[in-house]
Amino acid sequence: MTTESAVADPTTGGGGVPLLHTLNEWQRRVPLLQLLALAALYIYGLSTIEGFGSQRVLYAILVNASLLGLAGAGQTIVVLVGGIDFSIAAFISAGNVIIAELCGTDHWSTGAAVAVALAVGVVGGLVNGVLSYRFKVEPLIVTLGVSALLSGLVLKWINGSATGVAPAWLGKLTAANGTTFGIGIPPVVVIWAVVAIVIGLVLTRTRAGRNLYLTGVNQPAARLALVRVNRTWIYAYIASAVLATCVGILLAGYSGSGNVTIGDPYLFQSLAAVIVGGTMFGGRGDYWRTVLGALVLSVVALLLSANQLSSAAQDMITGGLILVVVGLYGRERRLRDRI
């Protein structure tokens, strides 16, 4: 009792909903929806708020996004490699205080002070990376511990009060009315653009970056595929700490003086930038997306500020908006697709 029927050409493809599929394909490569969200918010601002298109508004958004985006750079790297870094705030504060104290109070040269700050970043990131990798302790708790340790040490060093003032030229870097080589763009924006290009390229086009993804997606497989998983993990944490320290240095210029809590708001905000951008734990996403995330959040902040809502309403709207934006593209796979 044999039944047999004719069979079509044995290839997959064809049929389905081609347009939707193509869009999906695109979204996987390019953060289309993130761009769309950003454009929509900006246009909303243009149409509802007088003067929203002005250069002043644009630069305010860009300066804010630059600091946020730089703070989110390290977090992006760590999230891609499959970890998380809750010590970013402490490193930002440390970088900030070190510059202000050493330059402002102890009259060191800026170069030497920056070197010390970066060294602190390297050592701190190393501790984060080594402890979490070598002993397989949850990165969350290691980074919280390092965070407390570092802020404690900084606090002790300055005996509880930051007194220094940052060098004036540092302040010009982050001024919204600043110029870069005579061109009327705030230097911090240019710095951010350069950093974004470099990190973006490193992540997507170099071995170090590829190793980051491989490790983040599947650590045992990466190890078997000859990735030096331990190095990759540790370098990622070092990169995160160093980048955070750099943000601290920039913030010293921004605010003009040292402040041991200056990094605190950046902890969840930078994580939010990563998330809004669409970078997910374990190897999905890239730094371009975080850049968009930071821009989206900064536009939202400006819109809320322009509407003069109460702080409570601002929070509720921000939280809701993030959820809506991320809901467009950043959701998990269905359970049934994972069997």
């Binding site: 047999e4 029927s5 069979v7 064809g14 389905g16 490569r29 071995r207 000859l226």
Partner: protein, 523 residues
């Protein structure tokens, strides 16, 4: 087959697409109560998709579904289980940290309401596991502490304790060792007699021969034929699966009958001295020659896995692994060293140790050979693609675009990409840890042919396989492991099913796989 047999489950004209991929085009299938119905098809032909539709995991785009003569619509696996349809899936699905008992009874209770008493659960779990494993493991040990085979047995027991009307095994035997598989077949025979319908998905002809009453074939998402077991010759099945005639002329004694083994003066590439796999086991000595193809066999967990891993990352305990090269010798102590010395390793657990799930096919392929794609410090996409093209055609990888996620490939095709990753390093010694698990007959032949070509060029291959036929067809010699020691070596002349399986049990008398459907009283 009696026309009066009761229809346990029937589907007609099922279709299912994932994005642009049409996994099922038109699939019809009728399962009768009391039959073992084998389902065969190439990798990616839609078998697992069909299984997932049958169990409510996926909803079909169109098509009819009847259980016991009544049309049903399933909202999820729970509904299918309630309707009496339960499956063991292609991947080993267990909850590692939870106990054997919990794993076996997973999903049997409601979220807040208990449906079966604890005592009943213990009793029935022990009985079913006893049936499958000879002796039930401690029901309170976490499943992750069991061997892969025993873990899969727990997954199978999960289906059996629920006494489904229709049992579906989707390549569920590929993770089982020979002894457990034989006991499973016995159990199936008993349940079949009690009226259970079994849908049996496998790429292994011997297994299909051993237990099935009828065989259906899927090709590119369409059901092309259903044969009575006696009509289902390998040649006919391969013809139906591929829709082509050229593969049917497999020579007598297998495709590799022409193999003669390495030349007598072939240089030694790898030397193992006094390698102790377990503190209480005898040390192993071994030499691997260029152009040789060596199989590693034994019951699950008897040392062959530890052995092949020791060749890759060096001995965990006593002993030494030395790579012999023209320039001198180097001892293998880490995977980095092994790789530098021209050794390649294809791991066993695809999902856990080889696949980068969210990354593309190209990125998965080039993971271990990034140095070859680096131009001016940047990775070159074109270079990786160029290298991949060669393996893609050689291994006949069936795929969409290279930039698609690897997860869009079927299991067998994923495996081909993983193998290609290592071939691309052009190793002198290739270590393969059960590389054809879940690979269809056609693809297996592609891989065999490739290995043959490699060994002809002087590459040495060490391959662990759980498939008896593979050893017989392919290997120049087979090392059989028993209780952590190397117990026997069988060379090409003395390799038969009987001798090999007997060696697994440390015996010379036989319990052949082909005979396993009729139990021959060894236990």
């Amino acid at each position: 087959m009696s026309e009066q047999s009761q229809v346990a489950l029937e589907v007609t004209g099922l279709a299912k697409s994932f994005g642009a991929t049409r996994a099922l085009r038109s699939c019809s299938l009728r399962l009768l109560a009391g039959e073992v119905h084998a389902l065969m098809g190439e990798n990616g032909s839609g078998k697992s998709t069909l299984v997932k539709i049958l169990t409510g995991v996926h909803a079909p785009d169109s098509g009819g579904y009847r259980v016991g003569g009544r049309a049903v619509r399933l909202g999820g696996p729970a509904a299918a289980i309630a309707a009496g349809v339960m499956a063991v899936y292609q991947e080993v699905l267990v909850v590692g940290p939870r106990s054997v008992l919990e794993n076996v009874w997973l999903g049997a209770d409601g979220v807040f309401r208990r449906k079966i008493s604890e005592a009943d659960k213990r009793e029935r779990a022990a009985a079913v596991l006893g049936e499958l494993l000879g002796e039930a493991p401690d029901l309170d040990t976490p499943v992750e502490q069991l061997s892969l085979s025993d873990r899969q047995a727990c997954g199978i027991a999960r289906a059996l304790v629920r006494e489904p009307r229709v049992l579906i095994l989707d390549e569920a035997t590929s993770a089982l060792d020979v002894a457990t598989r034989d006991r499973l077949f016995e159990a199936i025979a008993r349940h079949k007699a009690a009226g259970m319908a079994v849908l049996f998905v496998s790429h292994r002809m011997d297994e299909v021969d051993a237990i099935s009453d009828r065989v259906s074939v899927l090709r590119s998402g369409e059901s092309v034929a259903t044969l009575e077991a006696e009509d289902a010759t390998t040649a006919e099945l391969v013809r139906l699966m591929t829709g082509a005639e050229h593969l049917t002329d497999i020579p007598e004694g297998g495709a590799m009958a022409h193999r003669t083994g390495p030349a007598a003066d072939a240089p030694v590439l790898l030397r193992v001295r006094g390698l102790r796999l377990r503190p209480d086991a005898d040390p192993v000595d071994f030499e691997l020659r260029a152009g040789e193809m060596v199989g590693l066999a034994g019951l699950e967990g008897h040392g062959q896995d530890a052995f092949i891993k020791a060749l890759w990352h060096g001995p965990a305990g006593e002993g030494s692994v030395t790579r012999v090269e023209v320039g001198g010798e180097s001892e293998i102590r880490s995977e980095q060293r092994a790789a530098a010395a021209g050794i390649g390793y294809v791991p066993r657990d695809r999902r856990g140790e080889a696949l980068f799930g969210t990354l593309s096919i190209r990125e998965n392929f080039s993971a271990a050979t990034q140095d070859k794609d680096t131009r001016f410090g940047l990775l070159s996409r074109a270079s990786a693609l160029g290298r991949f093209a060669e393996y893609r055609s050689g291994l006949k990888v069936r795929m969409g675009r290279e930039s698609d996620p690897i997860t869009t490939l079927s299991g067998g095709n994923q495996q081909k990409v993983v193998i290609a990753r290592w071939l691309a390093r052009r190793p002198d010694v290739l270590l393969l840890n059960d590389p054809t698990r879940g690979v269809d007959i056609g693809a297996k032949r592609d891989i065999y042919a490739l290995l043959d070509e490699l060994t002809a060029r002087g590459v040495a291959v060490v391959m662990l396989s759980t498939e008896v036929d593979e050893h017989i067809e392919l290997m120049d010699r087979v090392l059989v492991f028993r209780e952590g020691s190397h117990s026997t070596t069988l060379d090409r002349r003395s390799l038969t099913r009987q001798s090999l399986v007997a060696a697994f049990f440390g015996r010379t008398v036989t319990s052949s796989v082909a005979g396993s459907a009729s139990p021959d009283g060894d236990s």
